[in-house]
Structure formats: C-alpha cells, structure tokens
Symmetry: C2
C-alpha cells in the first residue's frame, strides 16, 4: 500500500506542479453551456455541476497533481448534489488525479468512523480535511485509514480567514507557564500523530495540516514546527495570497505543500482580464491559462525535485 | 417569524419533555424487519434506514419535542443515505417534531453559506450543530437565518468525549493575564453572539451550545456563563451521563436544555434488560419504554413550567 504522501509527491514530480485545483461548484457561476435549461430542479442543477466538473478535470489533469472538491457546494444541492460529488471524485481518480475531499468533518467515536466510511470507503477520496476541535481521540478512524489504506488527512491548524484569530490564535499556557497560540498546540499534536504513520521515502507523514497562505509568518513558523507534515495551503489568488507568500510552506526539496486555488482557476473567466480575453464561451482556455500561470508562479518559489 | 427557542420551548411545555431523540442509523443495528433483503446496495440500505426512521418518529413524536439526526450515519450510505436524511427531516417535521441536524459543520465565507443553504434551506432543519474553531466570522450565514428565518444553531463548546480536554480544555490567557479553558472563551462568545439574536418570551436566544452530560461540573459552570443560551446536552445513557448530571443544564423555569439519547433509545432493544423484555420483534415497545423512562427521569430534575 503506497502512502498518501508518496502518491502525492510522485504526481507532484511528474507534473512539476504543486497546484491543487479547488472544485467549488456554485451553480450561478458555471459556464452557461451547462446551466441553460437546468435551473429548474436540484437534480438538473446537480447534473450541470457533474458535467462541468468532468470537463474541468479534463483541462486541469495534466497541470495539477490533486483536486479539492468542496463538499459544501455539492451538499447545497441536496442528495443529487452529493451524488454529483461522489461521481466527481470517481471522475478525478479515473483521470489519475488525487482527491482531497474538503469536508472539514469532525465528530466523536462511532460518528467519526461513519465520516471516515463516507469519504474514504464509499466516496474513495485520497485525503480528507478534518477539524480536531473535538479532540485527538476523534481522529482515530481517519488515522486507521492513513496507516492501512494509504489515505491522508489534513487537520485544520490555521485557516485563511480573518476570524482564524478568534480561537486558533488564542494564547494558551502550558503546565510550565510557556505561552503559544492554540494553532501551535494543534500543530505539535499533528506532527506527533503524523510521526506514528508510515513516512514516505522523502520523510513525509500521512497526516497533513491546513495553513492559510494569507498568514505567511505563521506559515513559516508552522512549517518549522511540523517539518514532516504535508501542508494544504488555501487562500491563494481570490483570497489575496501570492506565490511568494507560499514559499515558506515548502520543504527543502520543493515538496511538502500543495497550494489551492478554487474560483481563481475555475471561475477566472468571470472576472477582469480573463472575462475580456476568454469570457464564458472560452472558459476552458481560461482555466488552462490560470492553472498554467499558477503552476509556473509556484515553480518559481519551489520547484519539486525530480526523482 | 417565531424564534427557534420559542418553538422549542412551546413543544417542551406541551409534551412535558426535554428529551432529544438522536437518530443514528447504523444499518447493522436496525430491527431485522427493515434490513432483511436490503443488504445488497447503498440504495436498499438507505431505503431500510428511511422506513425505520419514519416508524421511529411515529413512536417518539408524543414523547419528545425534538429529534437529532446524525448526518454522518446517513452520509456513510452515500448519496442515497443523504436522500434518506432529507426525507427523514421532512418526515419529522410532518409529525410536528423540531429537528436539530447534527452535522457539526464549519467553514469560511461562501462555503459556510453553502452549508447553511444545505441544512436550513434545502433540508429545512430547525437547528444545526456547528463547529466554531475556524472563527466567529464563519458563523455569519447561520446567524442570518437565526435572525430572519427562525432557525437555531448549537455551537460546540464542551463535547462529551474524553479527548475534549485536548483543545477545548486548554488553558488560555487573556490580555489581562486571566486564565480560563478555551471552552469558556467559546462560551462567552456564544453568549454575546446570541444576545444579538431575538430572545423568546422566556429570554432565551437562538444561539445554543453543545455541552456534554459527561462533565457535570463544566456543565454547571458553562450554564452560569451562558444564562440565556439553549443547551444541547449529549452523552446521556450509553455514554454514561444520568439525569442528575444534566440538572445544572436547565434554567430556573425548567427550560433551556434538551438532553440527547441516540442508541440508548433507538437501539435499546439490542442490549441487556430490553433485549430480554422486548427484543428485535418488539423494538417499538422498547423505544417507547426507553423514551418514557428518560422523559420521566429528566422531569424529576427539571420539570418544564407550563405556560
């Protein structure tokens, strides 16, 4: 069983890309070729999403090792949307892409086990984002699959939104009087848990962390605190993070991080320069150009070593 | 628009019950009358879940103001399971029950909005459990619906599992050097946010908190810190909490808390005394007896004032 990190890094090297393409299917943002005549029901809207996602995957498959469907946007179309999520994950895997299910799940005991079943066994994502606020015991069913089924998780450590200061950024005090923000405590736990999973040949664990590109100083600090932890870095592009802000997230060999962009790639054709150059009709060209641009911008700050 | 707390408390008074019946549909635990011949596919298993849940609702509707479907167990059956979730919520509402969707969702910006759409607009739950680790800004779309659509939320404050000590229980330090565990910081935020929502005539807000019955001291402390916050108290029964442990969760008028039991009611027939007295064939009688027993045990510690 090849570990998640090994599979991710093989794909990163092969494609020379650390881009994670976020799939956030907001119906109103889709190219009109998919939405026309499909406004009427959740089933029809979900069909539009599924058809669009499949073509999006065709465009980005050579340019990115991994995609990240945001489960919330599928859920917002009800059960038919969840069916589209399931089929989109399968379509991504058929195209050789790894899949991070962005579900931010977290619950206790047998409920956590049910979420692990849902996203790893039924939907067959390669990795899952998880929220560890409920405690380290709640990670057990996910860790089982990291050890035994080549899966990965990304624990939320420092998210890209301004409100991440409210609780993640809270100063905590340990038994010896030492102070550190909560996100550093979570990071230390992520590192320690990860070290109990099989390392890939470059030394990366199967337990990753989510750290936003919008806080480059914290990113550098958290990378140092979690030297063997794969990072998922959101907040690039639309949220304001640039390639330079992501530099600190990568390890010495140019591996260890994937940077996500969602609407900055998939819906680039709806804004600014791309709206003029490509527009709705040439959305595929817009997606291609945006993904190439991001891949090359990231290569300039961290080129993955080829094997 | 009647507020969530007003609707919850009207039902609590009418039924003289603070019981929340958790709906955790584990296929292997269902009565055999539903599972026989339905093992083969996710669609068939989801059908079994849906049929069982509807009959469970018939039994508990006179005994409980509110039910709590655990979304994870529905998700574990894939999209067909999510369809069963959607239909179960509708069936509960048709029977006059309020519904707390136990989904523990939490995400940023437009993604949080998509989760609010999914569980409040599409599925039409009355309330939703949410995880605020990502920050207070992530609650905005849920709060909009508390203010404008009579919805409620329950923010995770202190969960019932042992691991809740790991992060929720972390000592934090404020700008004045004052120390308090993180769950008290979250509680203070929940209280303040709730005070910006419309209060019901008994003075309860639309922003609730999840506080486990398994930590009675913390429950008392958190109730004092959040005097107008409706509580959802998990951990009763199978997890070890008793009625006495829940006493501190109620307000002076016997309102302000609902106590959840899931397998302790719905799957009581599979264990101990109930397995002998009722067994699989008389599962309805077992559910009825378990719900009556819990209702009466809670009445003994906090009888809701009738209007």
């Amino acid at each position: 069983m090849t570990s998640y990190a090994a599979r991710l890094h093989a794909a990163t090297r092969e494609k020379g890309s650390a881009v994670c393409v976020g799939i956030d299917p907001r119906f109103a943002m889709l190219p009109t070729e998919f939405t026309t005549g499909r406004e009427g029901s959740a089933e029809a809207r979900a069909e539009a999403i599924e058809l669009w996602a499949r073509e999006l995957l065709d465009v980005v498959a050579p340019l990115a090792p991994v995609v990240k469907p945001q489960v919330a946007f599928f859920e917002a179309e009800g059960w038919a949307g969840v069916r589209a999520y399931q089929r989109t994950v399968a379509a991504a895997r058929e195209r050789g892409l790894l899949v991070i299910a962005d579900a931010k799940r977290g619950d206790i005991g047998s409920t956590a086990e049910a979420y692990a079943q849902a996203h790893f066994d039924v939907v067959e994502a390669d990795a899952l984002t998880v929220n560890a606020y409920l405690g380290l015991d709640t990670l057990a069913p996910f860790l089982d699959r990291c050890r035994d089924a080549g899966k990965g998780i990304y624990v939320l450590v420092k998210t890209s939104n301004p409100g991440s200061a409210d609780f993640q950024g809270r100063q905590t005090v340990d038994d010896h009087g030492g102070q550190a923000p909560l996100h550093e405590r979570v990071a230390a736990a992520v590192r320690d848990i990860g070290d109990e999973t099989p390392l890939d040949e470059d030394g990366w664990t199967a337990v990753g962390a989510v750290v936003g590109a919008t806080y480059p100083e914290e990113l550098a600090c958290l990378r140092a605190l979690m030297p063997r932890t794969p990072l998922l870095v959101p907040g690039y592009g639309a949220q304001g993070g640039g390639a330079e802000d992501c530099r600190a997230g990568f390890g010495a060999n140019g591996l260890g991080a994937v940077v996500n962009s969602s609407r900055g790639i998939s819906f680039a054709f709806r804004k600014g320069d791309h709206a003029e150059r490509f527009g709705d009709a040439r959305w595929r060209d817009s997606v291609h150009a945006a993904a190439v641009e991001m891949r090359d911008a990231l290569r300039a700050v961290a080129a993955p070593e080829t094997a």
